[in-house]
């Protein structure tokens, strides 16, 4: 009886661990900045439609967190970052194919909150109680916002008011639920996703570097024909059209 139980357990074990989705050669792994979620989902779906047999595994998150996953060996063929810093970081670790990095799109940082709120410029934000921001340690949207806050000399006044989110979408979710008074997000997030909140002001561009999305093939990705083809597709006019449809600036 006991022996039978062990046998059964072994069978279950083998079934669970050995029959998992076998990694197909045509599987392209994408690591994508959270703000690009909808755009890249559509881009990869478009590409998959034209090239039968290619399928995508998409992994979304804060760019810093994604970079760290890749550094620690997470499977990734194409990396979309929301700032140059994390791309350079991986290039420094020789995990990115240096000859295949390009700029995909641009964005802007905005502040969202309840429509009635009397907040029209960065200086007004200090009047609020709780503000969501992507963790500046790993989320580019938070890094850009923090840079603007610091440059405007408001960092001391905002101390203890900033709720750190793990990516920019979580930031927006906090604001949507009304748990924070406002949030620093990208213009595109506000335009695509926001329902309860609206853009109260655009953070002045002279306070932070332009939001730039680099995209690159990783060293493993550059050896995969499907990943290279997808990377090529991202440079096409068709891809640009999709990106601008979601509100991204392409030049």
């Amino acid at each position: 009886m006991k022996f039978r139980t062990i046998k059964l357990l072994l069978c279950v074990f083998c079934f669970v661990f050995l029959t998992g989705p076998a990694a197909l050669a045509a599987d392209v792994n994408l690591s994508v900045a959270a703000s690009l979620r909808e755009a890249v989902t559509e881009l990869s779906a478009d590409f998959a439609k034209k090239s039968p047999g290619v399928s995508f595994q998409r992994n979304f998150g804060g760019s810093g967190a994604l970079a760290k996953q890749i550094e620690n060996g997470a499977p990734c063929d194409v990396f979309f970052s929301a700032n140059v810093e994390w791309m350079d970081y991986l290039e420094g670790k020789r995990l990115i194919d240096a000859s295949n990095i390009s700029t995909l799109a641009f964005n802007e940082v905005v502040f969202v909150g309840k429509p009635g709120l009397k907040v029209h410029r960065l200086q007004d934000v200090v009047k609020l109680e709780k503000i969501a921001i992507g963790s500046p340690k790993s989320v580019p949207a938070g890094q850009y916002a923090m840079e603007a806050i610091t440059k405007a000399g408001l960092d001391k006044q905002l101390e203890n008011k900033l709720v750190m989110a793990k990516d920019v979408r979580e930031c927006l979710m906090y604001a949507e639920r009304g748990e924070v008074d406002g949030a620093f997000v990208y213009k595109t997030d506000a335009e695509i996703m926001a329902k309860e909140v609206k853009i109260l002001f655009i953070v002045p561009q002279n306070l932070y570097p332009r939001v730039t999305y680099p995209v690159a093939l990783t060293v493993t990705g550059s050896k995969k024909a499907e990943a290279v083809a997808f990377y090529g597709f991202l440079q096409s006019a068709e891809a640009r059209k999709v990106l601008s449809k979601y509100g991204f600036a392409v030049k």
Partner: protein
């Protein structure tokens, strides 16, 4: 210690503060529930038992999410009770205390119950025959004889509270210097490519505190066996 920032220090202090407060607040409730389940027979005892122990098996994220739904801006407890009184809980350290209390509560109740079950029932019967009411009984017999179970339960709950993450991050958010406890600070460092050293340093702090607390708990347990 390698270059802890002021927010890291406040994370360490906050963890201890939250775990201590949650434990102290839970004590009277934990004692009451344990008393009811050990000495009283009543309808719905099983229901209470399951309900109290639920947080032990539920993912803390579920606990956090349910608390958010209840206490958040749109939650009904919030609308009925908190907003009229002008209390804001979500994304304050009080929310962290509540989350920690809910998640750690079953551990406390279990320990106190174990303590109470070792009490010789004849002592209680004797006190009754000598005319002690139930309150006298609780104060003079049950409380002193289960005190080690109470302390052990508190220590265990405190230790669990130090590590609370899933429910806390949802209801208390992650505000450095205000609601960022050690696990939340570690989480932030872990997702940052340049945060490994600091994450490791905070892990060491966490491990040190946990080991100290568990050794104390173990020592208490031995004391209990010796006196039995």
């Amino acid at each position: 210690m390698p270059g802890f920032t002021p927010t890291d220090y406040s994370a360490i202090l906050l963890s201890i503060k939250v775990a201590t407060t949650a434990t102290l607040i839970s004590l009277p409730f934990g004692f009451t529930v344990a008393y009811l389940m050990t000495f009283r027979k009543f309808r719905g005892r099983v229901v209470l038992d399951v309900f109290v122990n639920l947080p032990l098996t539920l993912p803390p994220v579920v606990v956090g999410y349910l608390l958010l739904l209840l206490l958040g801006q749109q939650g009904w407890i919030s609308k009925v009770l908190l907003q009229p009184l002008g209390i804001k809980l979500i994304f304050t350290w009080k929310a962290a205390v509540i989350a920690t209390a809910v998640v750690g509560f079953p551990l406390m109740v279990r320990s106190i119950r174990t303590g109470m079950e070792t009490i010789d029932i004849r002592l209680i019967q004797a006190s009754r025959t000598l005319g002690a009411g139930w309150f006298d009984n609780v104060i003079t017999i049950i409380l002193p004889l289960s005190i080690r179970g109470i302390i052990a339960g508190s220590v265990l709950m405190f230790a669990r509270g130090l590590g609370e993450f899933g429910a806390t991050i949802i209801v208390a958010g992650n505000i450095p210097g205000v609601t960022q406890t050690i696990p939340l600070a570690i989480y932030e460092y872990v997702s940052s490519p340049r945060g490994d050293v600091m994450a490791m340093a905070l892990c060491c702090v966490s491990i040190t505190i946990s080991i100290a607390v568990l050794i104390f708990h173990e020592w208490l347990g031995r004391q209990m066996i010796r006196t039995d």
